[in-house]
């Protein structure tokens, strides 16, 4: 069970207000998609959830506990780029999470424990369709394959929350459709909560069980930084998704 609660959250950089008075409650196993104009603070919101930015005011709670100030294994992340480790092969990238968890000093596994970890990684590798690329380096993979691996890399640690920062923004439309099926499959298998920032409206409706729109409710043309964005629409999408599936795959 994972609950995310956001209470009266503000984020300011000096005199620039980015987010104002954000209130939110996300229940267990939700798939939250966030859209909004560029610069509306949706990525800032995600980065605060990740733990690399701190709120100016207000609080973030996960299961009633304050959010840790640093990124940790309970919250996975997939960025648009640079999420993989270029010096490791596909299988090594996938094993890393297991090794870090099980071996604090050397971050390496040996013998039976390594074989078990490799078996687990290979199973996931097959599930995301990268079985044949096991020994390749990330630079040898296509953009879609890199994102598959990056998602698998996060999922293998079984995070309570998976954060996606425009993960499919740089991919071809055909590849994106495959990625949507993959992320929905993993979401159902692992029972995690997903928070995804995107600029693709169709994608946000298709994937989410809940759609959040970030926008400014107050504007001052003399001082554009005076007011920040907040959640202007909070649309439940449960059940809606299945109907949009054919139209999207048809296109």
């Amino acid at each position: 069970m994972t609950q995310i609660t956001v209470k009266r959250l503000w984020k300011e950089y000096g005199s620039q207000v980015v987010l104002e008075n954000v209130n939110l409650h996300v229940g267990d196993h939700e798939f939250v998609t966030i859209i909004g104009a560029s610069g509306c603070g949706k990525t800032t919101f995600l980065r605060m959830l990740l733990g690399v930015e701190t709120p100016s005011r207000g609080e973030f709670l996960i299961d009633g506990e304050p959010l840790p100030r640093e990124p940790g294994p309970d919250r996975g992340i997939v960025f648009q780029r640079y999420s993989l480790f270029p010096h490791m092969t596909v299988i090594q990238n996938l094993l890393l999470g297991l090794e870090l968890h099980a071996s604090p000093v050397f971050a390496r596994l040996l013998g039976a424990r390594r074989r078990a970890a490799v078996a687990q990684a290979e199973e996931l590798l097959e599930a995301v369709g990268l079985g044949a690329s096991r020994g390749k380096y990330p630079a040898q993979l296509s953009g879609g394959m890199q994102q598959r691996l990056s998602i698998a890399q996060s999922v293998i640690c079984q995070p309570k929350i998976l954060l996606l920062d425009e993960p499919f923004g740089a991919l071809d439309p055909g590849v994106t459709a495959d990625m949507h099926e993959l992320i929905l499959k993993l979401w159902n298998l692992n029972k995690m909560t997903i928070v995804m920032v995107t600029h693709d409206v169709q994608e946000s409706f298709y994937l989410g069980t809940r759609l959040l729109v970030f926008d400014k409710v107050r504007r001052d043309s003399q001082a554009p930084d005076r007011y920040g964005a907040t959640i202007t629409y909070d649309i439940p999408l449960k059940g809606h998704r299945r109907q949009t599936l054919p139209s999207l795959t048809a296109s």
Partner: protein
């Protein structure tokens, strides 16, 4: 391609031979541009015959002495470079404390502190090795600091979300990506390292390639100096090529 790349070398040798024979015709006792026969005889004497005084084969004894100093100094510099470079690059407290100090250190002209080294460390091996380290290590530290900071922050965040501690982050993410960059830094430092080696050998030494060149300079022995310079160049070139080969074989991802 090979023909084209060999062309300048061939031209240089041809120009040397022409000038040498012209000078030797005018003055058979000329020492400035010795003839190929003189050069061959000298190389034979230095590279294949034992020295009458020491019983050593001079070229090899000099090469061994110089390479030992150079490799020890480069090895220590590489260790210092990785240890401090990565630590300063990754740990903000260390960066705030040490980065300006290393920057200042790297700007001290190493030859200006050579007398201090001779006074403090004596005229033995230590002073020569120290001079190379002082000249090379701060540059490698600064280079690796920059390279470490160039790693995308996304990678660090990703590793943290996979549960990495700072130590694990350094061990599995930062260090492995540092090795190919260390090799680059070493390749670029080779020229400076040879410079400091020969400078220290020229001033106070009893063996070594630099010592020999500066010893025979007194007798205008160009027939010794020219082969020695060519030999040093070949050694440096080989080291550079070996490092380049190591980088491409050991780090195919980089």
């Amino acid at each position: 391609m090979l023909v084209l790349s060999m062309m300048p070398f061939v031209l240089l040798i041809a120009a040397y031979l022409a000038c040498s024979s012209a000078r030797l015709v005018a003055n058979p006792g000329d020492k400035l541009l010795p003839s190929p026969a003189t050069l061959a005889a000298t190389i034979h004497r230095y590279a294949l015959e034992e020295d009458e005084r020491t019983g050593d084969i001079l070229l090899w004894a000099d090469t061994a002495a110089s390479l030992k100093r150079l490799l020890v100094a480069l090895g220590v510099s590489a260790l210092l470079g990785v240890a401090f470079g990565v630590a300063i690059g990754v740990i903000p407290y260390l960066r705030a404390t040490l980065a300006p100090f290393v920057a200042a250190l790297s700007l001290i002209p190493p030859l200006a502190v050579l007398p201090i080294l001779f006074i403090v460390a004596g005229l033995g091996e230590l002073a020569k090795v120290l001079l190379i380290i002082i000249g090379v290590a701060p540059v490698i530290v600064r280079d690796l600091t920059l390279r470490t900071q160039e790693l995308p922050p996304e990678q660090m965040i990703k590793a943290q979300t996979l549960g990495a501690s700072t130590w694990q982050l350094i061990l599995r993410v930062v260090l492995p990506q540092t090795w190919p960059r260390l090799i680059d830094a070493l390749r670029l430092s080779l020229g400076a390292a040879w410079l400091f080696l020969i400078a220290s050998e020229a001033i106070a030494s009893t063996d070594g390639l630099g010592y020999r060149i500066f010893l025979v300079r007194r007798y205008l022995a160009m027939d010794v100096i020219l082969p020695y310079v060519a030999w040093i160049t070949l050694l440096a070139f080989t080291m550079d090529a070996l490092l380049r080969l190591l980088r491409s074989k050991a780090f195919p991802w980089a």
